[in-house]
Amino acid sequence: MTMKPVLSRSPFLSELDDLLNGIGVKLQISPTEHDEAKRRYDTITNG
């Protein structure tokens, strides 16, 4: 029987991951901005 290795993660790296993901969330284009881009795009591609 093969066992999957259990990967232990340093708490420091997990915390860094949390913070970097937090920054990533803030870098996302807002849904309003995206909807506006999509509306313009649809106008051009359908027009």
Partner: protein, 317 residues
Amino acid sequence: MRIGTTVKPKGEDEYDVDLVCELKADPSDFPNPIDLLDMVEERLRANQTYDGKIERKNRCIRINYANEFHMDILPACPSPSNFDFHGEHCLKVPDCTLEDWKDSNPKGYAKWFEGKARDATVEFRKSIEALPEQQAYEDLATLPRVVQLMKRNRDVILEDLDAKDRPISIVLTTLAAHYYNGSPSVIDALEYIVFNIRLHTVGTQRIKVLNPTNKEEDFSERWANDAKLYDTFVGWVDNLASSLEALRKTQGLPEIAAQLKVMFGENVTNFVVEDHLKRLTDLRKTGSVATTASGIIVLTETPKSNPIPYNTFHGNE
């Protein structure tokens, strides 16, 4: 936008949406490739909606939506003889400066990137013709997250340069995907990618970044004409590698936060650190946070940790 690496622009920069207008025509139908750009521009100008918003660029027609974003429309014809490894036609796009065709393959590139980005936990939705719906951050695979951070770091570190003099996003995206080690951790993947890019830029020879799905397209061609641009890229990679090393050596949240501010900007870091502290306070209230001997905050499942009592700030209650 399709590959999920778009980031909110910093300062007054605008984000762009690229649209490929693929005509079912043979490039040889256009003895002068610029005619194709002229045709598309003329068609757009005929529509009053776009009047005053159109700008001719070297390979595309740009529609400027003031203070919002710009949309680059890239006219293209399928290359009759060049197929990528997905079996699809590569494209030929007109280039005003060269007055000739240039090779490209945006759809094949997006497929290649998606393949690289797919990890054990996230599958992408596929949408080719329509502008993809925005992916929630939690649905985004690790690779696009890392690319977003690299782009942001570039814009922070090279803020004083014109956007056109900074390393272009397609180069960063290609290098990141090429060196991605499949790790689900953003910090692991970022460190691995930057380490490997640096490994290949320490020599005196310039690296070349080709489109992996169309080797005729050199994403880094501007470095061949301007050595300063390549030096800027190498300097930025060195800076990012040093910053990641410094981040590893930090101890405690204030030090981490200070380093993140240098790397990604003050405002965004302040928001994130505040959120982080708030979450930790909430966890502490429920008794599910503890410190280890090294003083790092972890969940209480970790053995040998000492729970932190919730401080009510009410004195000796």
